[in-house]
Assembly symmetry: none
Homo-oligomer: 233 residues x 4
DNA sequence: GATGAATGAGATTTCATTCAT
DNA sequence: CATGAATGAAATCTCATTCAT
């Protein structure tokens, strides 16, 4: 899934009638904006920054966005829609709950790897949206949350288990989201390896916990690496 | 541990010579600042906001902080120092690695519960510091990270296990930090119950995984709650 | 030479690409700024003052100047370049060293009369520029200084005299600059007469000294004036 | 004449009753203030700068000065009074007008050499005083100006010459003040030699002009110096 | 005398946004 | 579509000055 495909995943009403050439340009704008927001935060990014980064006049930007917040909204709307769409497709495929969980984790992490900036802007800047915009995006997030909760509940109670998630199931889901979303704070491909491997490890922890790992320790990491995590920036 | 105790936990050089009355006032300022930063983000909090919230003149604030960033630095320095101090004390107590992990998780969550605003400002605004300030704070964070890594490694490899953490041990630690830090995004005492209970559940997941829970499901939650998570703000 | 001609004498890189209409406006801004700086000094002139004097918003000024110092730099750069250009043209004309000195003094004083504010801001605010800006302007000043030194050396040693100025020649040049630059502190056309007359007197003093005047005194000022010097502001 | 002697030269009413210890301290304050003003200008010097330079609290300064302008006034009043006093003493001594002029020039330059900062603050910051303060200082300056005018007139018209200075005599005086005051902009003892030598050269120029020097050139500077003027800062 | 704390006024600069062209 | 010019509002920070202690 390319960035362009995020762009066209779901369209905001305003742009549904835009011509393809306009859409192309809009994609470029949003991608650059995502990079800036991911880097410095939405409040700290200025429209001037964006104009300069795009080699474009300040006034020109306002042909594409009603205002700064609208820019963030469009970015989040597209990105979250694309992520949700992808994950719903994955969840629709057959398999045990454990398999589904694994596929979802990997899918999320792959999306993260491909759209780091965009997803970061979505994950950490929801609060920068106000009122109506906020609610639209939150609804998408909630759908995603409910989907994952459902899978986790099935892992615990079996595929035919009680449909209703318990309080603890929900907490567990929130723990999982924490693991997934915190990755922005530390992941570096050259240091931590491909996201698929991270996904496997995360799934392992979630399903079996550390104890399981202990029982299998020793043979686990035949060639202990000397690299280091969470260091040297 | 009260906020005042955070304040005096460790002192910045500048304030080591300040008189107690000055320190009291400084505590008040930092506490209010933490609340505002936690609410809207550091970039979006203005010195005016802070002055108004404290019923104090703008110029007056600059008696306590060299500039806005210095304010954030002082806040992070104190809070992280206090957290680290507390956790190192806890880690020094005897017990199995599993017990230690449990106590550390609970300790962290209790600190969070008591100093929500301060800790949030620390957790999400590290990047708002530049250069020298950044490095000072990062070093504290790193010490905390290493401490938790060590405990987790012992859980996996046993108390006498290899001192050297593997790459996967470090990833696991980062997953755990994700769970802990993401809590700012959802926790609400009236909805999710006391943090001690959250700590138990988190520890359970980390040690045994979901499968374990499945084996014990059924009796677990005799009275399924009707409340809902991640909703209604 | 009009103010507009100062403006276009030499262009700062930034503005070389500006359109004529922009340049016109910039001229107006700099002229007004020069008046304010001449009146109260650079440090005491505020951007607000300037905006008000131009009936223009504060923010609007920042379209033309990166910051307050840049404003001063542009002003000095243009003015000094124009003065130097004019004087180099004069110096290139044939004549005895004495004639050249006289023409240069008159040229300088005429420039002063036509661009009093601008030249004052240049003469007394060099130290208000920092680092790189300072050096650029100082180089222009130095060229002017060297030119005048050369002429004065020729007056003393003859047109074919030693090319190398002695220490005393250089001191004499500095004395001459003192006479020229101090004029800002006292000259008032209605009280002291046209600058051309001042130029003649100054040249006379420099070439022949007071003694010469003594020898010719008596007939000199047939109708002693009753006006007053250095008074009533 | 030491700085302390400037201080006690003439007293402002306010301080006439101060005790000696207070006066000592006041001297120190004014001396430091003069240095700062000479360096950055009066408007750019802040009371904080001064407090820091003196290792003294901001509020403490206000025991010695009613306000910032009063500080400048006191400084100018003392310095100018001391200079005027010294020069009047010199002028009272017998000798030809030419001798008197020479002694006055040398006296002025020596005062400059001993009290560079103080005199600079007086010479270039008169306009920073307002209303009443301005007039008091200006009166002192005027007395100095009249004294020098009188001597110069006598040089031209002889000791018994018309008491009334002509317009040109006054202009010549202003030229001389220009030479004297501009010295702040370039003089550096290590580069230009002692002020007494500068005084001789200046007097020579004023009395005889460059032509005279030409007639005597060649033998003048037996060992042409290689140093350079107005360069390399 | 001396000082820490405090402040009103104001300085420079930035920002999102608009509009005529 | 695109841009240069412009601006109101506001942000950070500074400054001279005061006052209780």
């Amino acid at each position: 899934m390319t960035v362009a495909s995020i762009a066209s995943a779901t369209l905001t009403p305003r742009e549904r009638h835009a011509r393809p050439s306009t859409r192309k340009k809009l994609d470029r704008l949003l991608m650059k904006a995502a990079a800036l927001i991911a880097d410095k935060g939405f409040a700290a990014m200025t429209m001037r920054d964006l104009g300069a980064a795009l080699d474009m006049s300040l006034a020109g930007l306002y042909h594409y966005f009603a205002n700064k917040e609208d820019l963030l909204f469009q970015l989040q709307y597209r990105t979250f829609s694309a992520l949700l769409g992808q994950q719903e497709t994955i969840a629709a495929q057959p398999g045990t709950p454990e398999e589904q969980l694994g596929r979802l984790l990997t899918g999320h992490l792959q999306f993260f790897a491909r759209h780091t900036h965009e997803l970061k802007a979505c994950t950490f800047e929801l609060e920068s949206l106000g009122g109506a915009h906020y609610r639209v995006i939150e609804e998408i997030r909630r759908r995603y949350y409910r989907m994952l909760t459902s899978v986790i509940t099935q892992v615990i109670r079996g595929p035919t288990g009680a449909a209703r998630a318990t309080r603890q199931d929900r907490h567990a889901t929130l723990f999982v989201f924490g693991m997934l979303n915190w990755i922005f704070m530390w992941y570096d491909r050259t240091r931590h390896g491909p996201v698929e491997q991270i996904g496997v490890e995360m799934c392992d922890l979630i399903l079996h916990g550390l104890e399981h790992r202990r029982r299998h320790a020793g043979g686990r990491e035949a060639h202990p690496r000397l690299d280091d995590a969470y260091q040297r920036r």
